[in-house]
């Protein structure tokens, strides 16, 4: 299972999802209508490393973080 965390203002509890690639995870997350607008504007980290490729493989125990637009300072 993949643990998905929704950071900052998304305000959604973590979920566990079965997926073998980020592409598969994307299609499962998009089934949640509440998440659609967030996914358009959010960046992604796997096990705290930022990623930019949907073909990345996932293995059980991986942690995927969804990061909304930022504004530090």
């Amino acid at each position: 299972m993949i643990k998905v965390e929704f950071l900052g203002p998304i305000g959604k509890e973590p979920v566990e999802i079965e997926a073998s690639t980020l592409r598969e995870l994307s299609s499962k997350l998009k089934a949640d209508k509440e998440l659609l607008e967030w996914l358009d504007i959010c960046a992604v980290a796997i096990n705290d490393t930022m990623v930019n490729n949907l073909d990345i493989s996932l293995k059980s125990g991986d942690r995927v973080s969804i990061l909304p637009p930022v504004c530090g300072g």
Partner: protein, 144 residues
Amino acid sequence: MELYEGSLDTKEIFGRWLDEQSNSNYGAYIPFVGTIRAEDNIDALSFDIYEPVLKAWFDSWQKKAEERGAIVKMAHAIGDVPVHTSSYVSAVFSPKRRVALELIDEFVEDFKANAPIWKYDIIDGKRIYAIDRSNQMDGAGLLS
């Protein structure tokens, strides 16, 4: 990298950083202070931070600075920060001024673009995500 609950004690932080490097032979020290402005009826700003990715982001900048003979420093507040107090400070030490001037610009701008920190306005006790002033991080929209 330092994180604090609430407003930063800027004088203590800058003084300590200066003392720590007093014998390092850096010729230039450029501090930057971010202060909460009173605007749009806010009482304070409030911040959430995702520390693991922030630490990785900061470490990558420390490496870039080291390649130029410099070091970068930063401190940020977590939670509520009232107007007219500081939520963010950073600094660059380098042997000569030119590297420090360039690096503080690049470091602070990339901080605004890619440091995983979320800002909220505090108005009448409500905490409202400042989405209009926020920036999508590199790679945003990957899962859309």
